[in-house]
Symmetry: C2
Subunit: 472 residues, 2 copies
Amino acid sequence: MSTPNIAAAKAALSHIEQDENPATIRSKSRDFFWYSPVLKEKMDHLEADFVVNPKSEEEVIEILRVCYAHDVPVTTRGAGTGNYGQAMPMRGGCVMHMKNMASVKEIAPGRVVTEPGIVVKELDAQTRAHSGQELRMMPSTFATATIGGFVAGGSGGIGSCTWGALRDFGNIIRLRVVTMEEEPRVVELTGDELPRVSHAFGTNGIITEIEMPLAPAYDWTELLVAFDDFPDAAKFAEGVANQDGILIKLATVIEAPIGKSYFQRIAPHVEEGTNLVILLVAPHSVEGLKTFMEAEEVPGAIIYDSTDNDWPRTPGALAEYTWNHTTLRALKVDPSITYLQVRYRYPDHMELVEKVRAEFGAEVLQHLEVMRENGKVMFAGLPIVAFSTPERLEEIIRIHEEMGCMIFNPHRYTLEEGGRQSTDARQLNFKREADPKGLLNPGKMIAWDDPDFDYATMYDYPAMTPKPEAAE
Amino acid sequence: MSTPNIAAAKAALSHIEQDENPATIRSKSRDFFWYSPVLKEKMDHLEADFVVNPKSEEEVIEILRVCYAHDVPVTTRGAGTGNYGQAMPMRGGCVMHMKNMASVKEIAPGRVVTEPGIVVKELDAQTRAHSGQELRMMPSTFATATIGGFVAGGSGGIGSCTWGALRDFGNIIRLRVVTMEEEPRVVELTGDELPRVSHAFGTNGIITEIEMPLAPAYDWTELLVAFDDFPDAAKFAEGVANQDGILIKLATVIEAPIGKSYFQRIAPHVEEGTNLVILLVAPHSVEGLKTFMEAEEVPGAIIYDSTDNDWPRTPGALAEYTWNHTTLRALKVDPSITYLQVRYRYPDHMELVEKVRAEFGAEVLQHLEVMRENGKVMFAGLPIVAFSTPERLEEIIRIHEEMGCMIFNPHRYTLEEGGRQSTDARQLNFKREADPKGLLNPGKMIAWDDPDFDYATMYDYPAMTPKPEAAE
């Protein structure tokens, strides 16, 4: 690994917009890694040497060419709402912020072509205004997250109850990518080439254009349904998602007392023991939903309807109580909690959740997101975990896995550990081609750094900028 | 049952459009009952005494009031594309043809409000032109069938691979219905009231307005995929439907040699042994589909793509080779064949199909339509059956049922026998209220005529107009 010539690279890029304010550089070197007490401990000191804000693909190419020439690592970021530390510059160098590349290039029936730096909410506003369309899925951070960050660092979200995960065939149409070589190339990826760079944290190419499928946009009715009994709530959410004629965008199950403890605007309306289901339902499906609830004698009550309620202060967008926002709201009230990312797979999903609840009780409060996987309704879990020690957290993960749950460990910063703990040959091979010097978001792909890693313990990137105290 | 005063009723309705041409009266007394050799034998002689064509709800009310006063049965029809004899006037009287009530009243995001007599294709054209929307599902007879006939006499169709069946919660929003009483009432039905009159063949009220959910309309790409092996074809169709990110409108599996024998414009392009899968895929999902085929090493080849092919003569709309059109095409080539309507339910659907194939071989050629039921992908079967005798047909049905298939017997004209062979209390109770004299489409609801019927043999409506030879 050659020593980067930071000063030379920064100077050579002086005609491209850079952030010079130290506070800005510090904030643009961070993402939502602090969700994890483990990552917070390990990564809090990381900081870029300089931050560039390209406004075009040409500038991206120039940044990558210059940084390649000077051996400077480049870590690319959107809004930094990822929580696996995916936008953190592990050994400093250049952070490339895509905010200035935010133009929508084309909207057509079922498709949008856009630059990566646009905030999802703004993209949504444009596709809605153009033709009543919206993204199939989006993160709960839609109000600040960029589409590029979602594609490069996300996996699914609001909408996945209908459309599955981002990685499913058809959920990304095309990605245009710049490589980091002596002379960067522009590559168009489609079909089976997409997994090379989607959810690769920008480790093997920089996305400069994205073509995504669109779904019809509706004025989704937001509902809160209260249940005394958690399994009833989970069964209801699953049941709604299995109703083929009822169109939903979101079905979230929140175990008591999360609502009372952490959802401040909802708390006055619920009890300690209230389990909640959050639904986004197409307006033309609301009556079908209510008919389903009556026909099935669902033991829950709609306590909030965004189109008709007497709450003196509304909760705001219910989508912002789901996916990672559930955790965020809990962290704001109680910074000591942490969380996990779990898959409860069909057909054992319901049974697995109950086994986990029986094992951990209040130490692991359930938060389930209804998803589709291989055409079946199942649950993604983002439980809220009472954090005691990293060792206990490891034990909780191990017990989940022994029960048959799959864990995407959000207390790790590598692609492999946050995923399936195995090498993705497509991503690795493309990195060999697109990033021969290994300068793109270094430290995030174990297979590149240490092909023989055995996953026995947390991967510790050897070249990570040492902590100040360790460096003393 | 009082004797109808036909002449008085007809005269009292002389200010409403009537068909006087005997050939027209004959043709408007018939539907696609002749699909079934059993129904053809029993119903071919049926004929209305007169045919009225109301142009408004007011005229419907007047027709029902007058016919009630004169004890005249009223059988309501759209285009007569139903194949359970649902539009056949069992004891003559009045046939009410809804063709003049064909106005679309409102189109909004996700919803359309329409009169019942509009042809589905025309409704589709209007919702597309207005806002790029279409019905969630439609019959293969969309080019001639009316939306009212579909709601009153259909069960699902093209689109059911995504949206399930018409009866599923949310797939009909509202029905406006006129009762047949001394003073007819207008009733608005929503929610759990809808099953009273949907798929009730007009036996307990006349639909005058329909509110249906809409889905986004795309320029669906039509594909024919050829397979040497039938199970491979079935597995492929199921697999595509289980891909959450690939949006389809239709997935049909056609066993060899149906394509070669009965699909005349397709026959030159296939072999005797070619099994076919017909797909309608959203344009923005076609590449995802192809990627799926490569990734899964699907042993089939796309032999026709509506957007890119060199066929000197195209097959026309592939949707018109599916659902009941498959049978129709076979009947045109070989009038001796017949068919069944089968449900192969999840999770045994694939296994059941193979059991049926092993049992019957070429006597029962498989034609599967991918549907969703309770959120799971399964098959509706409309197999083509080599007809020998009614007894053998009964035996074939019995063997299917013994294997665990559910049969909707299309060789019966009653709601119960074509359905679940049991009384639908909702429909019966509403008929008591809405049709106290039992004049609406008589002979189609066994529960009304003969509550103790035991289903041991085919129901034989005692008051059916006798055949001319029997009457001699």
